[in-house]
Subunit: 147 residues, 2 copies
């Protein structure tokens, strides 16, 4: 969990009132190593002892996204997911356990991809990359099952 005063400051810097639900939600997301769905957030916050209403949850996911404090993306199944890491834009997605890891792209690779668009006369502004497959754990787990 993050330092409470830092959370408050982050919110105020963006011109947002540090209400209880907002602080809880932002702190929770910053302490997450995965990329929870709205439903997972609702349940997680409930379990953490700081439940918030579903309307407030959705309102704040939108507000915090617009403020740039969190990021929304849609996975290959069409499920909305959120994280507090606003830098990494790519993902490793395990098709077996559903885990989604952040992934960084080298500059060379990124420009090679941008070039793909340029040759089609497109001006590429954002690369969205999703590598789907099996994480280490699931590879081991599944190969063990085959024996």
């Amino acid at each position: 969990m993050e330092d409470p005063s830092q959370i408050i400051q982050k919110l105020q810097t963006c011109g947002l009132r540090p209400s209880a639900p907002r602080k809880t939600l932002l702190a929770y997301l910053m302490g997450c190593d995965h990329h929870p769905t709205p439903y997972e957030l609702l349940e997680g916050l409930k379990l953490s002892g700081h439940p918030i209403s579903i309307a407030t949850l959705y309102q704040n996911l939108q507000v915090l996204s617009e403020a740039g404090l969190i990021r929304k993306f849609v996975d290959a199944d069409g499920t909305a997911r959120y994280d507090a890491n606003t830098s990494a834009h790519h993902h490793l997605h395990c098709t077996a356990c559903g885990r989604i890891l952040d992934l960084d792209l080298s500059d060379e690779l990124a420009s090679a991809l941008v070039a793909l668009g340029t040759t089609a006369n497109w001006q590429v502004q954002k690369i969205q990359l999703d590598l789907e497959g099996l994480c280490e754990r699931c590879q081991i787990r599944l190969s063990a099952l085959q024996d």
Copy 2:
């Protein structure tokens, strides 16, 4: 529009009855150069003079996807889209006009991306790449507006 008898054959090869709605839907999708949403399909088929019910539409989008005759994907906004091109898996997405074009990836680039996962001990099965930006038309249109 495709040859009607070819459409029928494609369906029968997959063990699907060539009912009127199925033939219309598959032919329509094969004649599409974009990637329509279910709603766009519903409207498009209505306009083409061969309306089908929404339940039948969704049922068949699923059946045809499972048969491998069409492909479903979810765009960055979370909207479901379908196309009859089952080979290309990558897209150029214009953020201004919403147009989505298919994109092919060179083998070198593809293996460079797979390697990214490998270094993280993942076994990559599918690369999903989405380049967002401005298409040629919209670049011209928008720069003209600025004058």
